[in-house]
């Protein structure tokens, strides 16, 4: 869809010429012209103005009544007065009205010092109160949710929080109840307001009515500093500001009120907003550990580094894995260590099946990459196997925005029902693991053989894609079977996604920096920048096998615990058991490491790192050190460089920026980048000239052959007479160690919920919420049943990536579900 055009006009405010964008709201135009008009309810992020607080009244020549500048689009030649007695009178009155029922408890209010109501009362208020009546007083503060406290005395009913719940996250749980002066913010029948984005209302509240339970009374505005950073708890990589007091992160806010439109639009999910607590927990490792007498014990850096340097003895037999929170630099240095120093080529950061280099290059082609804003202005957004809410939460909000405000047509193809289904024009369900077959059907349908489409939805989807407008964005998940990718690529070619700016593919990697790690060359079959590798090596699955077989004897684990995060838990248990040296960088001891690691280096948190990461749409963003390293923690790049030196490879990096420089020299399409450029809002490399240096992938047809061989035969149609259920897995937004470690988020910790169709639940005699057992050749997991209408019959969906009873213990496609 064409982006809105912007025409500049000029108007007069308080006698001064002001240039502004036509039809932008007067209050914004004034701000741009250095005239401040006070307001409460206006918040462009929330969409259309509501004009409720009346604080922004101004005089406009030619209009008898005062007008709300928050809702008045500017026109050329408009003449506006914001300083007349009439306006001042109204402003005084509004402040006076607001204070009638607002307790003046600023000295004990958590918002004090950063409170719009305080500032506006000071700036535009009467300065004295004419009100004698006692103010209303209520019990306060009260819990609105485990994360948010509400103080109803202070609420000025500005609509911000409820509009967020109703029009942005669309969970519609937070409401106004009652009417008039009795109106108050609440929920249905005392249910808590817990939803994945609920924390945003804290930032939206212009008074101290909604406060953060974890942050309340931890600091005063004059105690704290703000430090810009990137949240790397998921691939959305939202731009944040860390509230820092005494080298501790006490709060995470969106970077600035309007946020980074290219990334997060100024919103955060609750994992990102409250997960910072994991930075300062006791479980955090702050000293190097070495296994000694079967136990991991704190040791000196010297000893830890020496132990790690033992990698030298495993030349040719070392393998490495990198997890999502690692920076490009860290990954880059480790792949150098392995390839150049240890003559080992087994390294991977893709934990599902590997993808051929040709295909990977083709899928990464700059012209084919969609951007985040494209989601908002596309004609059609198609999700394939991706659940934004879990995979990259903030994109869920962006997609809702596009559908709600721009009329984007949303289509969803997935095995599991999606949180976005109610917003979708078309939802197609395929059996778990059936994406390759589905895409094949879709391709046929697109090729005009739509009658051959087994499913009317597929035909409808094909029609939407061919007739619904050219700007199509396909959002797909790294978890798609790689056998499906060649078809995906052919579909992209057929739809000419590469030829249009507003169209393209957007992959949601499983790891926060999944894209960056690959571009840094952390792949078995690709060097930095998708160059040909010195020598091809083993991928994740093969590494596990090789380790078990003794062909791989040392493992280097960069912020990943295979037992916790990778498929086939058993295989990894065996692999780590057999490996004689395991070097890990980790911030906490997860099970696998506790049991098997030889040496563990304390990893930096995202608030401590200095380095770069890559957003799924190719935007390089910079992590900056916001707080000092706790305990003895050292920078990751520094530790890796030191290990390399002791293992015989001098990488010649003495500072973080030097590592970045090396990376840019090694990755051709980063050639144009400098840290200065990517500071602030980051920079998309696909938009730089150097983008052309990405080795071209072979056309879809060429790559197809090789991969199509491995096309997993689509699962047979399910016969419900059979006892078992087809297994599908999902990774919840809450399935992350940071969530388990953050006290505030404990209530969200994902237990194993098995989603069942009502019919199956009935057949198996299982009630919603009942304790059940899931079994598969020998392995038994205990779980709780969640009966859901949307779940297709004969299917069970289970969570992986969770601490206990994770689905990654299961390897087969069918499970037995029974009451406990």
């Amino acid at each position: 869809m064409p982006r809105p055009e912007q025409k500049t006009i000029s108007l007069t405010i308080d006698g001064r010429e002001v240039a502004a964008i036509e039809n932008s709201m007067l209050v914004d135009a004034a701000k741009a012209g250095d005239v401040e008009i006070p307001y409460f309810c206006y918040e462009p992020k929330l969409g259309e103005p509501v004009g409720a607080c009346r604080m922004c009244l101004v005089e406009i020549e030619g209009i008898p009544k005062l007008q709300t500048s928050c809702s008045t689009p500017v026109k050329d030649g408009m003449v506006v007065h914001t300083q007349t007695d009439r306006v001042k009178g109204a402003q005084n009155a509004i402040v006076e009205f607001l204070l009638i029922n607002h307790p003046l408890d600023c000295p004990v209010c958590d918002k004090g010092g950063e409170c719009p109501l305080q500032d506006i009362t000071f700036g535009w208020g009467l300065g004295r109160s004419r009100m004698l009546e006692p103010k209303r007083h209520f019990v306060k503060p009260l819990a609105l949710s485990p994360l948010v406290a509400i103080d109803r005395e202070r609420c000025i009913l500005c609509y911000r929080c409820v509009r967020f719940s109703q029009e942005i996250s669309e969970d519609y749980q937070l409401i106004f109840t009652e009417r008039g002066a009795h109106t108050f913010v609440g929920t249905h029948d005392g249910h808590p307001y817990s939803a994945p984005f609920s924390g945003n209302i804290i930032e939206l509240c212009p008074v101290g009515a909604l406060t953060s339970q974890p942050y309340r009374f931890r600091a005063r505005p004059w105690d704290i500093e703000g430090a810009g950073g990137i949240c790397t708890l998921c691939p959305s990589q939202c731009n944040v500001t860390f509230t820092v007091r005494d080298e501790k992160v006490l709060r995470v806010l969106s970077r600035d009120s309007l946020g980074n439109p290219a990334v997060d639009d100024g919103w955060l999910c609750d994992k990102g907003r409250f997960g910072y607590q994991a930075i300062h927990v006791d479980e955090r490792i702050t000293r190097p550990l070495v296994r000694d007498g079967g136990e991991l014990r704190p040791v000196s850096w010297e000893r830890a580094l020496e132990t790690a340097a033992g990698l030298a003895k495993h030349t040719g037999r070392t393998a490495a894995l990198a997890g999502g929170q690692a920076t490009n630099e860290e990954a880059f240095l480790i792949q150098r260590l392995l390839r150049e120093g240890l003559a080992s080529h087994d390294l991977d950061c893709r934990f599902s099946e590997s993808v051929s280099l040709e295909l990977a290059r083709a899928l990464a082609a700059p012209a084919l990459q969609a951007t985040v804003p494209d989601l908002e202005f596309a004609h059609t957004v198609l999700l394939i196997g991706a659940e934004p809410l879990d995979d990259a939460p903030i994109l869920d909000l962006r997609i809702r925005k596009g559908v709600r405000r721009q009329g984007v047509q949303l289509a969803i193809a997935s095995a599991r029902p999606s949180a976005l289904d109610p917003n979708a024009a078309i939802s197609v369900r395929y059996p778990p693991g059936g994406e390759a077959a589905f895409l094949a059907d879709l391709e046929n349908a697109l090729a005009g053989e739509s009658d051959s489409a087994p499913d009317a939805n597929v035909a409808a989807l094909a029609r939407q894609l061919t007739e619904g407008g050219e700007d199509i964005v396909i959002v797909w998940s790294e978890r798609l079977a790689s056998a499906a990718l060649p078809t995906l690529l052919r579909i992209a070619e057929r739809l000419k996604l590469a030829e249009r700016d507003g169209a393209g593919l957007l992959e949601l990697p499983s790891g926060s920096n999944g894209r960056g790690l690959r571009e840094a060359g952390f792949l078995p079959n690709a060097g930095p920048g998708y160059g040909d590798p010195v020598q091809a090596g083993r991928g994740t699955a093969e590494i596990a096998a090789a380790a078990k077989a003794g062909d791989v004897t040392a493992l280097y684990l960069l912020q990943v615990d295979p037992q916790r995060e990778l498929p086939d838990r058993a295989a990894w248990d065996a692999a780590m058991h057999h490996a004689s040296l395991i070097v890990a960088h980790a911030s906490v001891l997860t099970e696998g490491l506790k049991e098997h690691a030889t040496v563990v280096f304390p990893a930096e948190s995202y608030a401590e790192k200095d380095g770069t990461v890559v957003h799924p749409d190719g935007r390089l963003q910079r992590l900056r050190t916001a707080i000092a390293h706790p305990g003895e923690i050292r920078a990751g790049w520094q530790v890796i460089a030191e290990i390399s030196r002791r293992a015989g490879l001098d990488q010649g990096v003495l500072t973080g920026p030097m590592a970045f420089r090396q990376l840019c020299d090694a990755v051709p399409f980063y050639a144009d980048l400098t840290l200065e450029q990517i500071a602030g809002h980051g920079l998309r490399w696909p938009e730089t000239d150097a983008a052309s240096k990405l080795p071209a992938g072979a056309g879809a047809e060429a790559v197809s052959g090789s991969d199509l061989e491995r096309l997993a035969s689509p699962p047979a149609v399910f016969d419900s007479s059979q006892q078992g259920l087809r297994l599908g897995t999902y990774r919840s937004i809450w399935a992350a160690p940071e969530v388990e470690l953050s006290p505030a988020l404990h209530f969200t910790i994902a237990e194993q919920l098995v989603e069942l169709a009502p019919a199956d639940a009935e057949r198996l005699g299982i009630d919603n919420g009942a304790e059940i057992t899931v079994a598969q050749n020998g392995t038994r997991l205990s779980a709780r049943a969640a009966v859901r209408s949307g779940v297709p019959n004969g299917t069970a969906f289970m969570a992986d990536g969770i601490a206990s009873d994770s689905a990654n213990a299961l390897t087969e496609r069918v499970v037995e579900v029974s009451p406990q």
Binding site: E133, H137, S145, Y172, I175, H182, F184, T187, V787
Partner: protein, 214 residues
Amino acid sequence: MSPQSVPRFDHGSRVPGWDDAVDLTKPPATVPDPALTPVSDELRAGIEAAMAKYPDRHSAAIPALHLAQQEHGYCSPEAITEVAAVMRLTPAYLTSVATFYDMFEMERKPKNDVYVCTNISCSLRGGDEFYAAMLAAADGGTDVNVRSFECLGACDIAPMASVNGEFVGPLTTEDAGQIVADLAAGRPVLEHKQLRYRRCADPGVESAAGEEPQ
């Protein structure tokens, strides 16, 4: 004078839940899953019929709440959850709507509604006195829900009240007891004072005889 003793929620408005915290043991109230929310056939049919009348199903919210209130006696959390399940909305959406309107009751209430108008025209003619009398008359009785209401649009029979929707007036304080009695006996309430039989006051409408109540 302590803040608590300040009259804040008088004049007929329901006492709101300002002071209520949420119950953290409850799950968030999302759109109820139809598979887990039983709804009576009449209610479901009624709501679906209502939704069919409008270009946008949301318009059926008020009709649906009327139906649910009839069936459940008041807009109980369950009633609202059932409507939400049929209308595919969150219960909160409907709670927000229900609490805005005076005719939806959020607390369990007696069966019969007596809305006494205490707005200007009625109070000029003794509406407040009648309200007091009505409260007294209904006191002890369990099935009469007496509420003071704003202008009900029948100032020509001031002071007046709406008894289960039937407008009666002009009322005297004696009528209060009669209303309770009629309700108890299940007969038409104050039939000779029912608005439905009242002739137009305008002498100019040379009207044929309107039927009289017997």
